[in-house]
Amino acid sequence: MTSTVLAAAGVTVGFGATIAVRDVSIDVHPHQTVAIFGANGSGKSTLVRAMLGLVPIQSGTISLFDTPVPSRHAPLERVGYVPQRTTAQGGLAASAGEVVEAGLLSRTTRNLPVGGKDKARAALEAMGLADRYDFPVGALSGGQQQRVLIARALVRDPDILVMDEPLAGVDADHQVVVADVVRAAHDRGAAVVLVLHEAGPLAPLLERAVVLDRGCVTHDGAPPAAVGAHAMPGHDHVHPHADHAPEPSDLQRGVL
């Protein structure tokens, strides 16, 4: 039994002379929902990308299910990654189905597995896009494109879901859809790592928050107190708040 799903120890990432992430250590446990907060340029995306082996690290170690990253044997097929939407732009039309089916491939699976098309259809259906299987992704709205990328991450039934700014450019209604997806993944037993600028409707789901400021961890523990829509009157507070929550004012400064 693994104690950590994804772990970084003393990780430093730099681009040339700039240090983007400085000596960061984080353990993500099974069945845990963690948010990484921080201002623009605080290194939160870089940290997550480094933890998936997408950016070379200068020092420290990263392990995924107790296997070092990057390595040939890292079980990346157990990760469902939703990159920032801007990265998913090809020069040619691709249908939503094709994009989601790409989520079933890995280092060892080079062709579509048997039943892959049905899985892709089901994943699109779960995102409310059942009738968009043959639709070119470029002709979809921004919120729909984001949901296609989420379907691509979910189609492989990941044991850890990593989403980079899943709410960016998504309207309020569809933010709720994203929150439903995160809740479903959590209920299925998956760990969830979210890179967030603000929590929005995801706030009630967060069990832990890590706050980055200029590449350093400034907070790791209870999530920030409810802000925004969550704090509005009429919101149904069904989840318990941690007793030892740090001063909300500090956190909000770090978060916003």
Binding site: R49, L52, G53, L54, A74, L76, E77, V79, Y81, P83, T87, A88, G90, G91, L92, A93, A94, S95, G97, E98, V99, E101, A102, G103, L105, S106, R107, T108, R110, N111, L112, G128, L129, A130, D131, D134, F135, P136, A139, L140, S141, G143, Q144, L149, R152, V162, D173, H174, V177
Partner: protein, 280 residues
């Protein structure tokens, strides 16, 4: 015609990677290879001093493709700058070397614009085999190649070796270009790889459909062009690419007409906000 089928199969991935001019860049570098091959042929005192032109082109095309691939993956130069360096460096070196080597101008022109009539049966068979291999690989590995070119970031996060796959694509492009050199010429080879893809993407909603149709367009245009060359005394390369561009214009025109008509009520274009909400 074999090249017409194989070109777009690789071209589709190049367009997907937004480096549709890679073919031309490699073509220019191959010109250096033609000059080098001719010089080597002369130096070795071969009976046919052009015998080494094609191997020379193949060699420099491969080297050029790999260098650009490396430059891009290191991220030091933007893709278009890397291509520009190839264009100008390749063409200039080709001209200089050709002058030094004193090759005859027919060889040079044949390399630039192609000369279908001069192709031997052996070359034609070799070209067909090479094209068949490229098509088989391009379609056989289409899933993983699509993943690697559509969203390299996600592909790498899934453990797919996106970098290695794109290197192989560059190699395939170099092979196709050298194969196509004798039929359409190095100046126009990129056209045969990219224009059919441009036609297909006008009316295809998925990547695989685009690729399949692009290959059919490429093969069709090449076949018609080759047939016409037999009757008229016009260089095949120009004829084929002009045909492809005209086909593009025709399809684009027809499409804009029909889509204007589709703006009528009931057009299944973008869903309305209401539809989206209810779907969610």
């Amino acid at each position: 015609m074999a090249v017409g089928l194989a070109g777009p199969a690789v071209g589709a991935y190049l367009v997907q990677r937004r480096i549709s001019l890679l073919g031309d860049g490699i073509g220019h570098v191959a010109l250096t290879g033609v000059a080098l091959g001719t010089m080597a042929g002369t130096a070795l005192g071969l009976a046919n001093q052009d015998a080494l032109a094609v191997p020379g082109a193949m060699f420099t095309a491969l080297v050029g493709a790999l260098i650009v691939d490396r430059m891009q993956s290191r991220g030091r130069v933007a893709a278009d700058v890397a291509l520009a360096l190839m264009f100008y460096g390749g063409a200039a070196a080709g001209v200089v070397l050709f002058d030094i080597g004193g090759g005859d101008h027919e060889t040079f022109e044949a390399a630039l614009f192609g000369s279908l009539g001069d192709i031997s049966t052996a070359t034609a068979i070799a070209t067909a085999i090479g094209a068949a291999i490229v098509i088989a690989l391009a379609f056989g590995f289409r899933r993983i190649l699509f993943a690697a070119t559509h969203d390299p970031e996600f592909a790498r996060a899934s453990g797919i070796p996106a970098g290695a796959l794109t290197t192989w694509l560059s190699v395939a492009a170099a092979v196709v270009i050298t194969l196509a050199m004798q039929a359409v010429g190095l100046v126009l080879v990129g056209g045969l790889m990219i224009v059919p893809v441009a036609i297909a993407q006008l009316h295809a909603g998925s990547f695989v459909t685009t690729m399949r149709r692009a290959c059919l367009y490429g093969g069709g245009v090449a076949a018609v062009g080759a047939a016409l060359t037999i009757h008229w005394d016009i260089e095949s390369g120009g004829l084929i690419v002009v045909g492809a561009v005209l086909l593009y214009a025709t399809v684009a025109l027809v499409k804009s007409r029909t889509s204007a008509r589709r703006l009528a009520p009931g057009a299944p274009d973008r869903p309305t906000i209401e539809q989206e909400r209810s779907a969610a």
